[in-house]
Symmetry: C2
Subunit: 380 residues, 2 copies
């Protein structure tokens, strides 16, 4: 194998596929990046079995020559430091040559790296996925969907299914739900399917996969194609393929958990609410589990408080934009509310309470594609 | 005590004095910030006994009213979260009131914090320093002196004296030296003294103190006044006092360690040398102690190499700008060279070698106020 390649494109692709590689793998070949030089260009692959990422660098892009293939072939190179090595090479062009025993030479200007490669035949094959049932999502929307749900997944492994985000598709409407059993985030979006009948439920994508996908999604690509199978999901960008294993098991039914009535409803300025809770959290971070207390008064005023006996107390007064219903005192995890406020993308929010011991719902006022649900915290 | 204060000035002063405060102190009062409101303004103090920082906020600065004193007094408030609290208060003005039992109220807009204070009488007094022997250094020069020496102090406590930077003053020339016994950095600078006869030697300032000082030195202040006593040093800016304990013990004599002759002398481009060593380090970071090999050939070429058997080898060719003397092969800690190259502030550097097993000297070519000394590493 021998080719020359444009450094900056190579660096970016190496960084992308490196995101899938874990140093803790039992398959030696998976500690490396697989590089394949073919007539069309160069393909890089990184994988930890759960996530696999394939990046393609075509020979030409927008009339700029990116790759010159001198001899086709393939190699696996240790991923460790490889991204650093290619990033620090001195010239715009890198020449990569594989000789006997998988010995690989990278040359760029006055710099030469001789690296011990691995047999590419030992690299596991990527899952083969039939491309029958495709739907399409604009890249910026997909990034939003991920950002607005994945923060709410569980980070503890006691209920593994909750470490993923639950996706369903019905009548062209994609519904994405994440919950750690204390709070829940739900996001809806219309998507384009190649056949109106495409439907699925109980697709649970690991939160970790979605976080990595979000990092490498390039907003310059307008669309991402998505293909779901029984145990895999594939995201296809222009020059990138992102495969993720799906989580096994049944996602809990969350629809019935969402209260449909309200005893107290308040509309608030998102920024002011955020800042008041952030200040209250300053005195409840330590050993108080971020518990913040709220008192909604019929006068339309709200009071947010937090106490740590040895340090002190904070009291925040907050005007409501709209207030209907009963007076209320409730305590909750303030950090969970902040997490949701950060992604709600609305200058005002409405919170509907159904009582001091019942879950409550927060929604944006400017759009209706999102809903956040929170459990209260008992403080006695 | 009762006063109102301009938030941004208060935040900055709280951040400055917080740098001296350690949560691991045996004196409870030192976990707090001492606040004194007097007729002239507000003084804040933070200390961990080794370092003490005093910041003063005058009543007025450039015709802007910063403080309004309603009642003089003093209090000690827990430093933990205090910087966050004042930073996150909603309005430009903060009102601080101390009532019975040191209970302190911070009010700003709709936000109110009630904090448990401590008795200010229990706060240790700052060292009293006679201001006879003062010398002055421009702030930007002092920041450079610190940056260009402190990186070379020892970080291990086996020889505590080497964790400090050694300062001497003679004939108006300040000489600052730091070494961890593998590399040494020395910086000279002319300074202004109030009496031509001010001299000192064996002043060893903890590296940690200098790092903290560097963070809070404000380049808007043109000069820093420096006062040295037997066991303390005081740095005086416009509205800030920085006290540091000096290290006990005798600093090793370093003058004789610096070779005065040279067998091989090379002049190199700083940037190209830096990049070549950085690439070589990519293959010597792991378990190789950053060892890099250099071969200087009479042709005027240099070769920098590094090998990690299981990963591979890197070879860097480097042109010399000037080359005199014998051919040479030497190995050294590449990271130490990079540390020095980062602060040398010269586009070219000259390295004088006295043999493969002897220390070597690196100097900037564009000025002569600095010198770096390195021990070679045996590789067999």
């Amino acid at each position: 194998m021998k080719f020359t390649i444009h450094r900056d494109h190579f660096v970016q692709s190496v960084q992308h596929v490196s995101k899938a590689i874990s140093p803790r793998t039992t398959i030696p070949a998976l500690t490396g990046i697989k590089i394949v030089a073919s007539d069309e260009g160069v393909t890089l692959t990184g994988s930890d079995s759960d996530i696999s990422i394939e990046a393609f660098i075509p020979k030409e892009d927008e009339e700029l020559q990116l790759v010159e293939i001198i001899e086709e072939g393939s190699i696996v190179l240790q991923a460790r430091f490889f991204a650093d090595i290619v990033k620090k090479l001195p010239e715009n062009t890198i020449e990569i040559t594989v000789s006997d025993n998988y010995l690989t030479t990278l040359k760029s200007g006055s710099s030469e790296f001789n690296l011990n490669g691995l047999d590419p035949e030992e690299y596991p094959r990527l899952p083969e996925i039939e491309e029958n049932n495709i739907f399409k999502v604009p890249t910026d929307l997909l990034k939003n969907i991920i950002r607005q749900t994945v923060f709410a997944v569980s980070t503890v492994e006691t209920r593994p299914i909750l470490t993923g985000v639950h996706w369903t598709l019905e009548d062209g409407l994609l519904a994405c739900t994440a919950t750690d059993s204390h709070r829940l985030a739900m996001r809806h979006a219309k998507v384009e399917t190649n056949s109106g009948e495409l439907e699925f439920s109980n697709v649970v994508i690991p939160g970790k996969s979605l976080n990595e996908l979000n990092k490498i999604l390039d907003e310059k690509d307008e669309w991402v194609e998505i293909i779901v199978t029984d145990n895999q999901i594939l995201f296809k960008g222009k020059n990138i393929l992102f495969f993720s294993r799906l989580l096994d098991g049944n996602y809990p039914a969350t629809k019935n958990m969402i209260p449909t009535h309200s005893k107290t409803s308040v509309t608030l300025d998102t920024k002011k609410l955020t800042q008041a809770i952030e200040r209250a959290l300053l005195l409840s971070r330590d050993g108080k589990n971020n518990v913040v207390n709220l008192k909604a008064m019929e006068s339309g005023e709200m009071e947010i408080t937090s106490v740590t006996p040895e340090v002190g107390k904070v009291t925040e007064e907050l005007d409501t934009i709209n207030y209907t219903g009963e007076e209320l005192r409730i305590s909750f995890n303030g950090k969970n509310i902040i997490d949701a406020l950060k992604v709600i993308d609305s200058t005002e929010v409405t919170i509907d309470f159904t009582g001091a011991m019942s879950p409550f719902v927060m929604k944006p006022t400017e759009h209706d594609n999102m809903l956040h649900l929170f459990s209260p915290v008992r403080t006695y």
